[in-house]
């Protein structure tokens, strides 16, 4: 199971969504889609048309910048970050 960390801006939008949880998925997009099953609408908050990560949402797999198709291993850490943006 991958160790997934979500941005704090996301949790108020989905009751019961933790900041940190475990997901079994082969890619970043699959991990997000897995979360979508339990918290409908979550994918829209991270993924734009394309599909592509929203422009100020960054993903890292084991510390390396990742895209939606980046593989996620069983023991990977996936960080989803709301980048410094706006004011």
């Amino acid at each position: 199971m991958a160790d997934v960390r979500l941005p704090g801006t996301l949790t108020p939008l989905f009751p019961g969504l933790p900041r940190r949880l475990e997901v079994q998925a082969p890619t970043v997009l699959a991990a997000i889609d897995s979360l979508e099953q339990q918290w409908p609408g979550l994918r829209d908050r991270l993924v734009a048309e394309g599909p592509t990560l929203r422009s100020h949402i960054h993903a890292y797999v084991d510390g390396e910048r990742a895209g939606l198709e980046t593989p996620v291993a069983k023991r990977s850490r996936l960080d989803v970050i709301a980048a410094i943006s706006g004011g």
């Binding site: 941005p7 801006t9 996301l10 108020p12 939008l13 409908p40 609408g41 829209d44 908050r45 991270l46 734009a48 048309e49 394309g50 599909p51 929203r54 100020h56 949402i57 709301a82 980048a83 943006s85 706006g86």
Partner: protein
Amino acid sequence: MPKTLLTVATRKGTFILESDDRRDWTLRGPYCEGWPVYHAIYDATTGEIYAAAASEWHGTTVWRSSDLGETWEMSSEGLTYGDQDGRRVSKASTLARAGDRLLVGVEAPGIFESRDNGKTWSLLSTLSGQHGSELWDDPANQPPGHLGISGFVTDAGDSDSFFAIVQGIGAFETEDGGSSWTPRNQGLRRDWPADYEDVGFCVHKLVRSSDPQRMYQQNHVGMHRSDDAGQSWTEITEGLPGDFGFAAAVHPHDTETFYVIPVDGGHGRTMHEGKATVWRTRDAGSSWQPMRDGLPQVDAHLGVLRQGMTIDSHDAPGVYFGTSTGQVFASADEGETWSEIASYLPSISSVDVAILD
């Protein structure tokens, strides 16, 4: 007196102002998790509040509250051009109720509708094929502000009939629920070259009086009046301190009375001479009177955006406007006198009013 409720959209969430007498106001908020909100409305049909929002991080959505703002939900289900279209929904700019439809205007320019009060959305129209649409679908051609569809005027008696404004292009009318459109810009002034006769106008705000034939608009270049339901327009700027502004409101019971807030048309876009002023006509634009009593007259460099002024439906209507520096001003006597009812809100995008019986 029934409760008066103001729904205030700001760059940092939605706020509610409410009053039992239109003198003493209480403020609640921020709501919508502090998201940038571009237009918030009270929908008398459902009693719900809707807020069109777009987060830099989390994209575009429409928030809704069925308990006057105490709790909120959001949905963007269906609010997308899809993965293959090439266009992206970057912002929800404006909302309106049209019969059983809830409409939202977005950028890239398009209109989505919800038939279940904001839970799900589907694309209604992009006005494709209209003159200019080949340009407005190009992201590089979007005007500053990036509003796309920047306003609606709906018809309470006919849900298939409404106007939509394409920012920087002009106003269009549909009479068949968005299947076909007709440009409604005849007689408008433009001070720039354009490729087409019927589009290429910068309509900032469109309002309809209690007589559907009588409409008004604040344009990038001039205030205008229509006496034939928007089919043609006559400029009524003379007597005002400038021809540029965003906000406009029409008296709910008197088709001759219309309010505007002229602002500097350059980069500043604040009220002229630092004097906060709402201008009112009582004769359909033949003459204008400045309404300043109670408004700051020294160093008041206030801006008001296109959804930033509204008017209630009391016998003696109250007029309200919110500024880009976070003040809300209210008049309970048709603009004769004003008071500041909120002072330190975030930058205000819209003010909407409802009378709750």
